[in-house]
Structure formats: structure tokens, C-alpha cells
């Protein structure tokens, strides 16, 4: 569903943000990208969303090249950012309606909005609340609600659990599981090794633009993912 092939990005200032990175995220899979700041996680997302062009290699979503046919590729993906920022003066419903309409979902009824709010664990009365009164956790949930209304086969998440309190983070992970059950291919960047271990089917470890390791669930299910992460980072340092 999401395929990264030999993806390389060198910025104008010479910084190599991605260095021949390749991996796939299959339907019904949660792939977590781990790495320090500047490792190239967000650069990957930016290329997938056509915010920046790659220097070489390709990134495709559902077979559509994100650089050559970005509008076609973006039909099959939703995006949840680190800090979901919506229109503060709008109510949750107005925000949902706007982004759903942009995704081509017009004519949604109250039950559709109520349903998606229940799914993400937000009370229905929150639909009438202005976003400026939402907590960060509520905004993250609403970000997922927007993604759900679009109902694409792939979802990109950039540090979605950053800054969430433990309860909100747990609820968020429960949401991800449900999305996985619905066959969504989820690419999630995170610093949060603890939660990556809980939710990921595979993890990719990035360092200075390189994908230094990919580990499957069985590799870290009973092991300390942090230890694996540190080990891979040190190994990459030696290389």
C-alpha cells in the first residue's frame, strides 16, 4: 500500500535527510519509524504528502507515485500530525465537515458525525464545541476522526502520541488497533519506543537519513525494544 523505494533526499544546504531508504507498509499493518530528531522520519512523510520532492527514488501510495501524481496518491491517504491544529473558531462538526468535503465526502448526516465521534471516543456534545476549547488529546482524536471520515486505505501519522497524557495515549493506541483491524496501512513516526512496542507490527530504525534496521513484531515482542534500538544505533555508528 505504502512503498518507499531507494528514497533519497538531499536539501539545498547539502544535508542528506534520506539516504536510499526502502520499505513497504502493507494493508492491515502498523509500521513505526523510530529515530532521533533529524533522522529523516518527517522528511519521509513530507515526500509522501508531496510537500517536498525527493532527490531520487520513489514513494508510492496504492501504486501512485507521490511526486509524479501527488493528487492521485493523496486520494488514498489521510494524515494525522504531531499536533492536530484545526480551525479554533469552528466547532468540531464544522471542522469535520470541511475536511470531509475536501476529501469529497459531501452530504454527511448527523448520524455520520455522531458515529465517528463515538468511534474515536469523543462525546457527541463535543461536536458543538469550538475547537479552541479542546484539549490536545481531544484534538488528536478529532484528527483521527477526520482521517476516518475520509476512510482511505493508508494513514500517515507524524508523532501522533507526542504530548498526550497516558490515558489519552492509551485511547489513541486502541484507535490504531481498530484501524488496523479495518485493513488500514499505517505509517507512524515516533520517538516513543514504549508505545511503538505496544502497537507496531514492524519497526524501522532510522539514523541520519538511513534505515539501519527493520524489526518484526516477533523480534521485539518479548525483548526490550529500547535495547534493540540502542544496539542498532551503535551498530550504525560503527559502520
Amino acid at each position: 500500500m505504502i512503498e518507499i523505494d531507494e528514497l533519497t533526499k538531499r536539501y539545498e544546504d547539502g544535508v542528506l535527510a534520506l539516504d536510499h531508504v526502502s520499505y513497504k507498509v502493507e494493508p492491515g499493518e502498523i509500521f513505526c519509524l523510530l529515530g532521533a530528531n533529524g533522522a529523516g522520519k518527517t522528511t519521509t512523510i513530507n515526500i509522501l504528502l508531496d510537500f517536498i520532492p525527493p532527490t531520487s527514488g520513489s514513494a508510492t501510495i496504492d501504486g501512485h507515485d507521490c511526486n509524479k501524481f501527488p493528487l492521485e496518491a493523496k486520494k488514498y491517504v489521510s494524515y494525522v500530525s504531531e499536533n492536530v491544529q484545526l480551525y479554533g473558531m469552528f466547532t468540531a462538526r464544522q471542522n469535520l465537515a470541511f475536511f470531509a468535503e475536501l476529501a469529497g465526502k459531501t452530504g454527511l448526516k448527523k448520524k455520520d458525525y455522531d458515529g465517528v465521534m463515538r468511534t474515536v471516543g469523543l462525546p457527541e456534545k463535543a461536536l458543538r464545541m469550538r475547537l479552541k476549547h479542546f484539549s490536545k488529546g481531544m484534538r488528536q482524536k478529532l484528527g483521527i476522526a477526520i482521517a476516518l471520515l475520509k476512510d482511505p486505505p493508508a494513514i500517515l501519522m507524524d508523532e501522533p502520541t507526542s504530548g498526550l497524557d497516558p490515558t489519552s495515549a492509551q485511547e489513541f493506541l486502541a484507535q490504531l488497533r481498530r484501524l488496523r483491524e479495518r485493513g488500514k496501512a499505517i505509517l507512524m513516526t515516533t520517538h516513543d519506543i514504549f508505545r511503538a512496542k505496544l502497537i507496531a507490527d514492524r519497526v524501522g530504525i532510522m539514523k541520519q537519513g538511513r534505515l539501519v534496521a527493520i524489526r518484526k513484531k516477533q523480534d521485539f515482542k518479548h525483548a526490550d525494544l529500547e535495547e534493540i534500538y540502542m544496539h542498532e544505533m551503535q551498530a550504525a555508528e560503527t559502520v
Partner: protein, 474 residues
């Protein structure tokens, strides 16, 4: 898809404090402008008719003898146009009285100024409110359209969807234009209701069409500022920086450049003083005297003997001499007048890099006010002067006792009978009536200004378009 973005932009603006404040400000200004205009217009109209009737009654008295009609100094006053409501055109600083007889015309009377150079600020007319206040409001609505959404993070989310960037730009442009249009149209409606409710002001179909055209022009003008706002917004990463840049540009375009008009006018034209003007007239007089002595106009041209039978009386030569004097005076006056106009126009032409000047000029041309009104009125008066002279010549030719020598010397008429002394019917005497230009004629005159406004729109749109396509939303 564009409609959804337009609707979002409108809703976002309507919910903001800046919209409420702008709405109140614009409505207050238009309402104040309406009340002030109605009050001033009634006074000016009364004043105009009083002076015009005085002129007509003088003309009526002089029609008892044809030659008196020829020597009667008519005073034609500039009538305040109803469309001064839209574009007053600094008319208070422009000549409002034109004095002439059939032989000579004086310089138009200018109140309180030594030249025609216009000041920058006028009454609270539509053009003032729109060019100054609404242009700023347009920037206030547009400055954070792109960089503000980037700061908030919503632009990233919006563009993560399958939306072409040009549609986002169009949506933001039309959304801002509709947002601006609402206070503008409500303000105009309030203004028109106040004005139309007045008994003195009646709009005919042509005036309504012109009002509609000025409203369209206003949207064209405001669109420039919206596009400028979008352009700068798509060149900056922070809305605060964007606002500062736009503020600088606004001050330059709306305040500084139009003000340079006066400086450029003063610097580029060295207008002769009243003494120099009188000296030029004196020199011309001396030259014609010299020509007369040299026999250019015939024997005894410059001398006057009341006795027609005297060998020193030569009425045709005297008439040629007097007409030569009058023509020379007219040429100098006309030249001085044209210089004053050119001085006023040159300043405006140099400042055409500002959309404000172009919009003001186009608005005045459509409304039939301002400098063009004065120029047009002056032309019509000159034409009327020629028509009246022709009428007098024609009536004079019917009198067998007249010498049929139309000359500007009253003594020659009285003693020699160079012009008929017969009475004429007052209703047959041509009277001056100012003709307003039809919309088509006004549009022809304003075509370059409208073209320039469209050009500004295209340039800023292209700039905003290219800039937004390359905009880094990260």
C-alpha cells in the same frame, strides 16, 4: 471543492473580531459620508441655482440690445454632480467659476490655490473610503490567509488532501473578496438609502448605471490588495512579518506615492506668477500696437475717432486691431490655463504606479467629476462662447444699420454702430447647459485606467499563484 474553501474562508472571517470591527467602521463611514453629502449638496445646489439664475437674468436684460449681449460677462458656475457622492474628485480645490464674453475668456476662478494641483485627501466619498480604508481592510483579511494557516498547521492538513493548490488559492481569493464585499455592499446600501431619501437628489438611469460601474471598479481595485495580501502571505512564513511588509507597501502605494504627485507637479512645471502673466499680456499688447503702427491692420487701426465721417476713422482696421488684441489675450490666457492643467495632470500621470491614483481617476471619470470635469466644462463653455458669437453675427447680419464688424471695443459699437443695437428675443438666445457624458463616453475615457487596474490584478494574481505553488508548507 473551491466552494468549500470559499465557505470556510467566509465563515472563518465572519467569526472573527476583525470582521465585526470592519463592518462597523465601513458602515459608519459610508453613513457619515451620505449625511455630509446630502447636507453639502443641498447647499451647493441652492448656491448654484442662485448664481446661475443671476447670470440668466443678466443675459435676459442684455438681450434688449444685441451688442450688449456680446459684451455681457457671463459667469458660469460648475454644478456639483450627484455622483460627487462616489468620487468628489477634489472639486473644492478646482475652479468653480468661468467668466467670459463672446470676445474674451478670463482664467477660471480658483478658490484658495495658486494652481490646480490636487490635495490628497477629499471628502468622505466612496472613493476615499474604498481606496484608503477598505484597501487596508483587504490586507487585514488577506495577510494571514496563507502564512497564518501555515503557522496554525491547518494549511499542512488541508494540502495533505487531494486538493490542487490553485484551487486553494482561488478559494481563498474569492472567500476574501466575498468577505470584503459584504461590508462594502452594506455600506453602499446605507449610503444610497440616505442620499436617495433626500428630496434634492434624484438619480436617473444613467446615474444608476454609473453607480453600478463604480461599484464594479471598486471590486477590481480591492481585488488588487487582496491579491497583494495573498502574494506577500505566500512569500512569508510568519503572519507578523507579512503584516509589517504589507503595511509598508500600503503606506507606499496609498499614502506616499499619491502625495508625490504634488511634489512632481511643482517640480516639473515652473508656473508664471500673476505679475509675469500680466507682463506677457502687456508685451503682446505692445507687439500688436507696433504691428498697427507698421500698418498691418490698415491705416489708423489703433486710433479711435468717434466721428465715423472723419478721415481718421477706419472701423474695419480698428476691428482687426481690437480682434488681434483680444485673440492675443485669449491665447495667453488659454496657454496659462493649459499649463495649469498640464501641471495638475503630470503629477497624476507620474503617480499612476499606485492603484489608488488609477482608481481615483477612473472613479472620477465615470462619475464625471474632478479635473476631467473641469476640462470638459471648460471645453463646453468655449464651444458655447463660439456658438453665442455665431448667433450674434447671424442676428447682426439681419440689421442693415450695423457695420457688421464684431469687435471687442464698446466705444466703436456705440459711436460707429459696428454691431447691431436691435433687441433680440431672449428665448432665441443660446443659453449654456452643461452636458453630462453618457456611460459609454465615460467608459471610453476611463478605458486606460480600467486596463491598468486589470493589469495590476493580473500581475499580482500571477505573482501570488507562482508563489503559492512553490510555497513550503512544512
Amino acid at each position: 471543492m473551491i466552494w468549500h474553501i470559499i465557505r470556510k474562508e467566509m465563515l472563518e472571517n465572519f467569526l472573527s473580531l476583525r470582521f465585526i470591527l470592519s463592518l462597523l467602521l465601513i458602515i459608519s463611514l459610508f453613513a457619515a459620508g451620505g449625511f455630509v453629502f446630502v447636507d453639502e449638496y443641498s447647499q451647493q445646489l441652492q448656491d448654484y441655482w442662485k448664481k446661475t439664475n443671476k447670470n440668466l437674468s443678466g443675459l435676459s436684460e442684455q438681450s434688449s440690445q444685441l451688442y450688449e449681449l456680446a459684451f455681457y460677462k457671463q459667469r458660469i458656475f460648475r454644478k456639483t454632480k450627484t455622483l460627487a457622492l462616489c468620487a468628489e474628485g477634489f472639486e473644492k480645490s478646482l475652479p468653480n467659476c468661468f467668466e467670459f464674453d463672446v470676445f474674451t475668456a478670463d482664467l477660471p476662478e480658483i478658490k484658495g490655490q495658486s494652481n490646480f494641483t490636487v490635495p490628497h485627501f477629499s471628502d468622505i466619498d466612496w472613493v476615499f473610503v474604498i481606496s484608503l480604508v477598505l484597501s487596508f481592510v483587504a490586507l487585514v483579511f488577506a495577510y494571514d490567509s496563507i502564512c497564518g494557516e501555515k503557522e496554525a498547521g491547518t494549511l499542512r492538513l488541508m494540502l495533505a488532501g487531494a486538493i490542487p493548490r490553485h484551487k486553494v488559492l482561488f478559494g481563498k481569493y474569492f472567500g476574501t473578496m466575498v468577505t470584503l464585499g459584504i461590508p462594502l455592499l452594506i455600506g453602499l446600501l446605507v449610503n444610497l438609502i440616505i442620499v436617495v431619501s433626500s428630496e434634492d437628489i434624484v438619480f436617473d438611469g444613467n446615474v444608476w448605471l454609473k453607480i453600478f460601474t463604480i461599484i464594479l471598479l471598486s471590486f477590481l481595485y480591492l481585488s488588487i490588495f487582496v491579491l497583494l495580501g495573498l502574494f506577500i502571505s505566500s512569500r512569508t512564513a510568519h503572519s507578523a512579518n507579512c503584516m509589517v511588509i504589507l503595511l509598508l507597501l500600503w503606506v507606499g502605494l496609498v499614502i506616499l506615492i499619491p502625495s508625490f504627485g504634488r511634489i512632481i507637479s511643482d517640480a516639473s512645471y515652473d508656473m508664471p506668477t500673476q505679475e509675469e502673466f500680466e507682463r506677457m499680456k502687456g508685451e503682446a499688447h505692445d507687439q500688436i500696437d507696433q504691428n498697427a503702427l507698421n500698418g498691418k491692420y490698415g491705416p489708423f487701426a489703433s486710433s479711435f475717432n468717434p466721428d465715423l465721417d472723419s478721415p481718421y476713422a477706419n472701423p474695419p482696421a480698428r476691428a482687426r486691431f481690437d480682434n488681434a488684441l483680444a485673440d492675443a489675450q485669449n491665447r495667453i490666457t488659454e496657454g496659462h490655463h493649459n499649463q495649469m492643467l498640464a501641471q495638475a495632470f503630470v503629477g497624476r500621470n507620474f503617480t499612476c504606479i499606485s492603484p489608488v491614483v488609477i482608481y481615483q481617476r477612473a472613479g472620477e471619470t465615470i462619475a464625471g467629476t474632478g479635473l476631467n470635469h473641469c476640462v470638459n466644462l471648460y471645453r463646453q463653455i468655449r464651444q458655447y462662447q463660439a456658438d453665442l458669437k455665431e448667433y450674434i453675427r447671424s442676428k447682426d447680419s439681419e440689421d442693415p444699420e450695423s457695420l457688421h464688424l464684431l469687435s471687442p471695443m464698446k466705444m466703436a459699437v456705440k459711436n460707429w454702430g459696428t454691431i447691431s443695437k436691435q433687441p433680440v428675443r431672449f428665448d432665441s438666445v443660446p443659453k449654456f447647459q452643461e452636458r453630462d457624458l453618457a456611460l459609454g463616453e465615460s467608459l471610453k475615457l476611463a478605458i486606460w485606467d480600467i486596463g491598468l487596474l486589470i493589469l495590476f490584478n493580473l500581475v499580482f494574481f500571477a505573482a501570488a499563484y507562482v508563489s503559492f505553488l512553490k510555497y513550503d508548507v512544512r
